[in-house]
Amino acid sequence: MVDSFGSADAYNEIRWVRQSCRSGKEAVFKLGQRLSGKPLQFVIGNQPFNSAVIQCIPPTLIPRQETEFWVDKLIARFCDNRQLRVLDLCTGSGCIGVSIAKELHCDSVVVVDSSPKACKLATINARNNLTKEQLERFEVKQMDILSESIDLSSYNVITINPPYITQRDYKTLHSEVRDWEDKDALLAGGDEYGLVFYKRMIYLLKDAFNKQVWMEVGYNQAQLVVKLAKQSGVANVELIEDPFNDRINRVVILHL
């Protein structure tokens, strides 16, 4: 383990795996899984995400810390608001929508994914983290936003962390990501820049007003997405830096 992860990470990972086990046997089994390349979050079965704990079941995408970081910012920004109507697209494990539903005063939170497995997991994560009242205002919808039409007018906060990895990058991904996580959650088909979901969003938002749209983007996509937005007439665009790398913008916010 020291050889594969470096000693500091190895000790931490061994400890975390141990803490998640009820018996020594289980720990040995799980450490074996980890050594053979299964992602830590799938081995342990969950990942903390802000104040929530998100269950992780393959192949649904594991919540990323970059996402956690900007969702934390979003929560800080809207913490005094009431009557929020939130839509989280490409929700995957549900981490964004669940986290928002847990921390903010929302009239409704709707999370959407095209994968039945993801929708099932998002439902589990909502149940595990939300109060009864919050759950009543939480809804999971299975649909493909690329092919089906969706009315965005009633929401005032929209979040989306769509697949944004290009075909070219996909081949170079670490095997822990490529072999274990849903291709459909990572790989953006269509053009060579991986912008298909952003184009679709901007199209869907054509006549929209009075809302903020937070879109996570890949390391080289922020400027392209901003350009698309400007072209379609969005005047007010805000960027959020990646916490781990200040040369990257991680989120594009459209103020409509």
Binding site: S7, W16, Q47, Y164, E176, V177, A185, G218, N245
Partner: protein
């Protein structure tokens, strides 16, 4: 437990101690009287200082008179026990002697504490402490000793019915043994601070390291810091949010969906003081952040306390009475199974029980406390 080699650095007879205390008590009673008598034509600021000082000295007269009384009682009883012609009365007096001296001792203690308290500006009673252990001279042997000490403090805190938890551990790189370079242990419970604050300093170990092949004894050191835990409410007062820079560590290329990171280390930097705290022990970014802020607050409070002590020392003629910065405070000698505390020059010789459950630690602390009080009284007297 066998205690051996017990000797006092500065043997003090009971009488000189009482004399000293009396002298000091008189000095502060005089100060109080002169403050009370001061005419009222003072400006507001001086008045405020005066009333604060009066408040500090408020309990002294009562404590002083009870102390005097118990002293008188002891003397009369003593006299009776030796001179009384009536056998029965004499025996009764003799029997009372013990109780009288106990009362005297307890009054002595209260008076001492009151005098010391009136001269210390910040009285601290935190809900817990953070013990920070750092490997020093001696490479991996020193890191192994950090581990031993960590176990000892954990066992000691169990024996005191405190709760302890490891906040942060940094392992030695490229070392399979699990040697710890740095660790922060949080211990919660009443009296954690008064009992463990003396642990601050350099601890020296002399033994044949596990890694030594030729049987030679090595000398290594570790550093221990003791910081008070700051409660949530008080945290805000210690720093300005704007002065703290929060960084997430270890940038890695593309990030986002491209990479799945497992560690979530954070680093805080308090810009005005340059204090840095990194935390990577939990999988939760939020929890790492909270812990880092907790450690930062404790460090800032410790620093503030140290500054205060330094400030007060400047204005003082004598430099004694402060054991805070002594270099090497204790030596653990394995070949001779002996632990020596250099501040009080005392040794105990059951190394094994000490490391198994901290047996003997409170014994050291008792003596350290008395020695500190003596030294403080001395320094107050020297200033007088």
């Amino acid at each position: 437990m066998r205690l051996s080699l017990c000797r006092w650095a500065r043997p003090l007879s009971a009488n000189t101690r009482h004399d000293k205390l009396l002298k000091l008590a008189n000095k502060y009673l005089d100060e109080r009287l002169s403050l009370v008598e001061k005419s009222s034509d003072l400006d507001n600021k001086t008045l405020a200082v005066r009333s604060r000082r009066l408040k500090e000295l408020d309990t002294l007269p009562d404590l002083y008179s009870s102390y005097q009384q118990s002293m008188d009682t002891l003397h009369t009883t003593e006299k009776m026990a030796s001179d009384e012609p009536d056998d029965i009365l004499r025996e009764m007096a003799a029997a009372e002697m013990e109780e009288c001296s106990a009362v005297l001792q307890s009054n002595y203690n209260s008076l001492t504490e009151a005098i010391l308290a009136s001269n210390a500006h910040s009285q601290l009673s935190p809900k817990g402490i953070l013990l920070e252990l750092k490997a020093g001279v001696g490479g991996s042997e020193s890191a192994l000793f950090v581990q031993d000490m960590l176990k000892m403090y954990t066992a000691f805190s169990d024996s005191q019915r405190w709760s302890s938890s490891l906040l942060s551990t940094t392992y030695v790189n490229n070392e399979v043994s699990g040697a710890i370079k740095e660790a922060i242990l949080e211990i919660k419970g009443t009296d954690t601070w008064p009992l463990l604050r003396f642990e601050k300093g350099v601890h020296r170990v002399q033994r044949v390291p596990l890694t030594e092949t030729q049987g030679r004894v090595h000398t290594s050191t570790i550093g221990v810091l003791v910081m008070p835990v700051v409660d949530k409410m008080a945290e805000k007062a210690l720093y300005d949010e704007k002065d703290v820079r929060l960084e997430v560590m270890r940038a890695r290329g593309a990030g986002g969906q491209h990479v799945n990171k497992t560690e979530s280390a954070v680093r805080l930097t308090h810009i005005p003081t340059g204090i840095q705290v990194s935390m990577q022990d939990t999988r939760s970014q939020q929890q790492n952040r909270q812990r880092a802020y907790q450690v930062l607050s404790s460090r800032l409070l410790s620093k503030r306390m140290q500054d205060e002590i330094d400030e007060r020392k400047k204005g003082r003629i004598s430099q004694i009475g402060n054991m805070d910065r002594s270099d090497k405070i204790r030596t653990y000698n394995y070949p001779q199974s002996r632990i020596t505390d250099h501040r009080v020059n005392l040794s105990l010789s059951d190394l094994q029980s000490f490391f198994e459950s901290g047996v003997g630690l409170s014994w050291f602390v008792d003596h350290l406390k008395t020695a500190e009080q003596d030294a403080l009284l001395d320094s107050l007297l020297a200033d007088a």
